[in-house]
């Protein structure tokens, strides 16, 4: 099952699931002609809703950690800046829950919060954008963080699953790289 939503401007996330609790996500560049989302170490992150998390796959150059609100965040820690274009980068986890739901809410506290991608703005030559492109503030230097909300698919949270969730999360390793499914992504 696949889907993509193109409400974002610079980057988007495509979801794939095997309907058995395995979810993979591809961070892709949208076809903006002039700008890219990217960043150096610790400037780029991807948050995904991940209830009933069992395991997380390793993504080279990225570290992950669980967060509040049943999420996992991947942070880029590569030496060279990451620029979202060309080949997509993939993230994946396995959930104890197999049902599939759409996560599209803007708020972390909403029932189905969308994925969130953060980075900073680059131009198509991979040069960090240090001024607003309108040029109306020439005297300023700037960094331009970008935040993209992307609709993704994720596990359906069963009714009354709160107690189960705590047990499942305790099985998961926090803030470290793990590899559970090899190159299945």
């Amino acid at each position: 099952m696949q889907m993509s939503v193109s409400a974002a401007v610079l980057a988007n996330i495509h979801t794939h699931t095997d309907s058995n609790g395995y979810f993979s996500f591809a961070l892709t560049h949208l076809d903006d002609e002039h700008y890219r989302l990217g960043g150096g170490s610790n400037e780029v992150s991807v948050w995904l809703p991940a209830p009933a998390l069992l395991s997380v796959e390793e993504t080279p150059g990225w570290t992950w950690t669980t967060t509040a609100y049943d999420g996992v965040v991947w942070r880029y820690e590569g030496e060279e800046p990451y620029i979202a274009e060309g080949m997509s980068v993939a993230f994946a986890y396995t959930s104890a829950w197999h049902g599939v739901a759409e996560y599209a809410g803007f708020s972390r506290t909403s029932a189905w919060p969308a994925a969130r991608v953060t980075g900073v703005l680059y131009d198509s030559n991979h040069v960090r954008v240090t001024q607003h492109p309108s040029g109306d503030d020439e005297a300023w230097a700037a960094a331009i963080p970008c935040i993209e909300h992307a609709t993704v698919l994720g596990p359906v949270v069963p009714e009354g699953a709160g107690g189960v969730l705590g047990v499942l999360l305790s099985c998961c390793q926090y803030t470290r790289r793990v590899r559970t499914r090899g190159s299945d992504v």
């Binding site: 409400a7 974002a8 401007v9 610079l10 903006d32 002039h34 700008y35 150096g40 610790n42 400037e43 992150s45 948050w47 967060t67 509040a68 609100y69 999420g71 965040v73 800046p81 803007f106 708020s107 972390r108 506290t109 969130r116 953060t118 900073v120 703005l121 680059y122 991979h126 040069v127 960090r128 954008v129 240090t130 001024q131 607003h132 492109p133 309108s134 503030d137 020439e138 005297a139 300023w140 230097a141 700037a142 960094a143 331009i144 963080p145 970008c146 935040i147 993209e148 909300h149 992307a150």
Partner: protein, 468 residues
């Protein structure tokens, strides 16, 4: 030594002059009339021959000559006319106010304040114009000091200059005037030679109507229809004129003269008296030191001997650009330096507006990124990061994913003396839709905020930095 004694006298009388006046390299003015030319005046614009070479332009924006138009004795009946003339021509004029007569001769402080708000300059023309110098007259220092204080209190801007009441005759005293003013205008009716300006008795031609081409041509071309002005020594000089009342019948001629001056704005810098004398004294005491000259970067310092709190008018520095610099930028300390590019003989030159004693100036191509970290050198200088360190740039980290609700945590390494704005736009080229923070002072080493995000798929938070 004489001025030192006078300072002590003034302090004892409660008319303390500015405390730094005698400090080395912080001069209030060049108080002595020059005994010899301070430098050789280039009779035409000059153009550095080698890449990266720099020089100070004789006048603002490398113009050929300078001019100032001043008005004495309050002239309430002419305020509106001069105001309108300024609006029409773009010129700005300098008013020398007899402060004791304001409110008594038809002029008012609000009227002068309105002129000042429109960009016109305000200076002193004494308190009483020496209407009665018999007791209980309070003396020449009081005339100078009280008038200045009065203007500054009423107009709320510095009054750095004065015009001698009755010209430079007794009881005027240039040594006393030098304790209070950056320059004083006299009434000697010759153009000021650029290298021989007597800043404590600057020459000025009296006009009632037309400020004729015979004077203007003298400073612009060194030629004139009047024999004594037809002399190359006046070329590239500073023409100052002073008006009193301009009767109705004289106004067309005066207006035509102002329009002509305005039409010559590429060649003649018509400016406030206070700006010309600041440019002149900064220039006359300036030292320009080229520290680095490479195809990647030109670095220099500009210093002068003048009092920095008064003398912050930018001098124009001409720099021959390297041919591969398609878009030069300059930063002084942490501020972008305004510049324009002029081309001649196949070479390009940057005209940089640099304030003396305000820090090292670095000039480079806009795209130069010495350390390859993606942040251009100029932006790193503004942000206070190191353009030679590939691991140092205005790095903004988010904590969006660890925060509740629809908010975003941002943090960045901040540098002393910087201020930050955080603005919000829906698209890289979109207009800002919200200002989340403004003028946030740096709290080195880190600034952190939590910003509420709009309900939009894409949000760009523009974290921009400037220096104080």
């Amino acid at each position: 030594m004489k001025t030192m004694c006078m300072h002590a006298v003034l302090c004892a009388a409660g008319l303390a002059a500015y405390p730094v006046w005698a400090q080395p390299l912080q001069l209030l003015c060049l108080s002595n009339a020059p005994a010899a030319p301070r430098f050789t005046v280039p009779l035409d614009r000059t153009w550095p021959a080698t890449n990266g070479q720099i020089e100070i332009c004789l006048w603002d924006d490398d113009r050929m000559a300078a001019a100032s138009v001043t008005i004495d004795d309050n002239q309430a009946a002419d305020h509106a006319w001069w105001q309108a003339l300024g609006a029409t021509t773009g010129l700005r004029f300098t008013w020398f106010i007899i402060t004791g007569r304001v409110g008594q001769d038809g002029s008012t402080w609000p009227s002068f304040a309105a002129l000042a708000a429109a960009g016109h300059g305000m200076g002193s023309h004494s308190v009483t114009h020496f209407a009665n110098t018999n007791p209980p007259w309070l003396g020449i220092a009081w005339e100078y000091h009280a008038s200045r204080t009065n203007i500054e209190n009423m107009i709320q801007q510095p009054a750095l200059t004065m015009a001698y009441a009755n010209g430079y005759v007794a009881p005027n005293d240039r040594i006393v005037a030098a304790q209070y003013y950056a320059a004083v205008r006299g009434v000697i009716g010759t153009p000021n030679r650029a290298n021989l300006i007597d800043y404590m008795n600057a020459g000025s031609v009296s006009r009632t109507s037309v400020l004729g081409r015979e004077y203007i041509d003298a400073v612009q071309f060194g030629t004139s229809s009047v024999a004594w002005l037809n002399n190359v020594v006046y070329k590239r000089g500073w023409l100052c004129a002073h008006y009193h009342s301009v009767p109705e019948a004289s106004r067309p001629g005066a207006a035509e003269s102002m329009a002509y001056l305005a039409s010559q704005s590429n060649e003649i810098w018509t400016a406030l008296f206070q700006d010309v004398i600041r440019y002149g004294q900064e220039r006359d005491t300036a030292q320009l030191a080229l520290l680095t000259n490479t195809p990647a970067r030109v670095v220099f310092t500009l210093t002068d001997d003048m009092y920095d709190a008064w003398y912050d008018y930018p001098l124009t520095i001409k720099l021959r650009l390297y041919p591969h610099w398609s878009n030069a930028v300059a930063v002084q300390a942490a501020r972008r330096v305004p510049l324009r590019v002029a081309a001649t003989n196949g070479a390009q030159y940057a005209l940089l507006r640099v304030v003396p004693d305000h820090g090292t100036v670095q000039v480079m191509d806009r795209d130069t990124d010495t350390d390859g970290d993606g942040a251009p050198d100029w932006s790193e200088l503004v942000a206070g990061t190191n353009p030679d360190d590939g691991n140092d740039w205005l790095r903004v980290q988010s904590r969006a994913l660890d925060t509740p609700a629809n908010s975003l945590g941002l943090s960045w390494h901040s540098a002393p003396g910087r201020y930050y704005d955080v603005l919000c736009a829906p698209h890289p080229t979109g207009a800002y839709v919200a200002t989340l923070w403004t003028n946030m002072p740096a709290t080195p080493p880190l600034n952190s905020i939590t910003a509420a995000l709009p309900r939009a798929a894409t949000t760009l938070l523009h974290v921009r930095v400037r220096s104080d």
